[in-house]
Symmetry: C2
Subunit: 222 residues, 2 copies
């Protein structure tokens, strides 16, 4: 099987799905080339352009371009499948628990955010809520709060220093950007002290810290 010689991550500084994958790269100790896709560009969101659609038919970030030692390239999309692929191909250190039951629990936590919250806060959804005359920022808040309530309950019996046990997993890769986004939307995080303690432990690790939005080359500081 050919070996990957270069990773190019097409992503955006403040995209939570992008941040998950950046974090997973850090946990694996792998380097990637950063290509910024400006999904909020005033002149037209770059992920909607034809050049990007070829890369990802869902027209979302991130997309991971793999270059192999035989010169071929391939592209992977969707943050959770990209993280699973990293764990399949570069198993050390693992970002999923070894035990199948705990692995399922970590994946379920990741999905509480990935399919339970993030779809409601993405840009397309926001614009479709505004088309109805709604306030997209207000509309998404109950999804964010309910998601964190569900996450806290769903990790209560398996959490240690991190969401599942004492090592970071794909669940933490999803949790950290979601907490930051929720904070930015003014969600009251006081009821989630256990999650905030996990956040503190995560952000003390270089892999999580280096993946945060404000550390990216395309970050815009307001």
């Amino acid at each position: 099987m050919p070996t990957v010689t270069k990773f190019v991550l097409h992503n955006y500084w403040r995209s939570s799905a992008s941040q998950r994958v950046r974090t997973a790269f850090g946990l694996k100790g792998l380097e990637f080339e950063y290509v910024a896709v400006n999904i909020t560009a005033a002149g037209g969101a770059q992920q909607l352009e034809d050049a990007y659609r070829v890369r990802n038919p869902s027209r979302q970030v991130p997309a991971l371009e793999l270059t192999f030692d035989n010169g071929t390239t391939r592209t992977l999309t969707q943050s959770l499948p990209i993280m699973e692929w990293l764990d399949d191909v570069y198993p050390t250190p693992p970002i999923l628990p070894e035990d199948p039951y705990l692995r399922a629990r970590a994946r379920a936590l990741a999905e509480i955010i990935n399919s339970g919250v993030q779809p409601f806060q993405n840009l397309t959804t926001g614009s479709r809520i505004r088309e109805l005359g709604g306030d997209d920022k207000a509309w998404v808040k109950p999804f964010m709060t309910d998601g964190l309530i569900a996450y806290a309950a769903a990790c209560a019996d398996v959490a240690g220093d991190f969401s599942v046990g004492d090592h970071p997993t794909i669940a933490d890769c999803c949790l950290i950007p979601q907490l930051a986004t929720s904070r930015r939307y003014g969600i009251d995080l006081a009821p989630f002290q256990k999650l905030l303690a996990i956040e503190t432990r995560c952000l003390a690790l270089p892999s999580f810290a280096a993946a945060t939005p404000e550390r990216q080359v395309d970050a815009v500081v307001h």
Copy 2:
């Protein structure tokens, strides 16, 4: 490690996430006990009751209860993690490709539906759209169409008889209920002939056929 002696699937006939898991059970040749959770009950949706919330803090179907030979029980939630668990613990026949790259592609297809479409058609979302004065049935249609466009493009180079190659995977487990739901919403499926051909091949298999909504004990035929 203890062995599972009984599976109890808490689910609903017309829930697409439930149908995915029922299909995966069929593909694995495993039996489960069916417990109906009426998510549309006139007297109050059963998945919102405290008794169910203990089982799944996200208050969604499905939830899979495992009973082990040592008498203990555990519960798994979220359709994709449940299907991944089935593949981890009962690897034959596989419902994910062996090759890591193709495995990632199958997972990405599943996510196009799981996080890209289904969140917008679920009951909670529908009621929050109606709270804005919107027509939830009309609102979800572009998400359904865009999702199928993305799915068709994303499987174009890997599809065979099924979405990825010539064997059913978790991608097909997600696609089949989504096509049926889209049809029920009046989405024009004519542009998706390749997906419809995959659907025909899937529904010719007993595992897919037995998992369809109208074949479930709690089905209500209108």
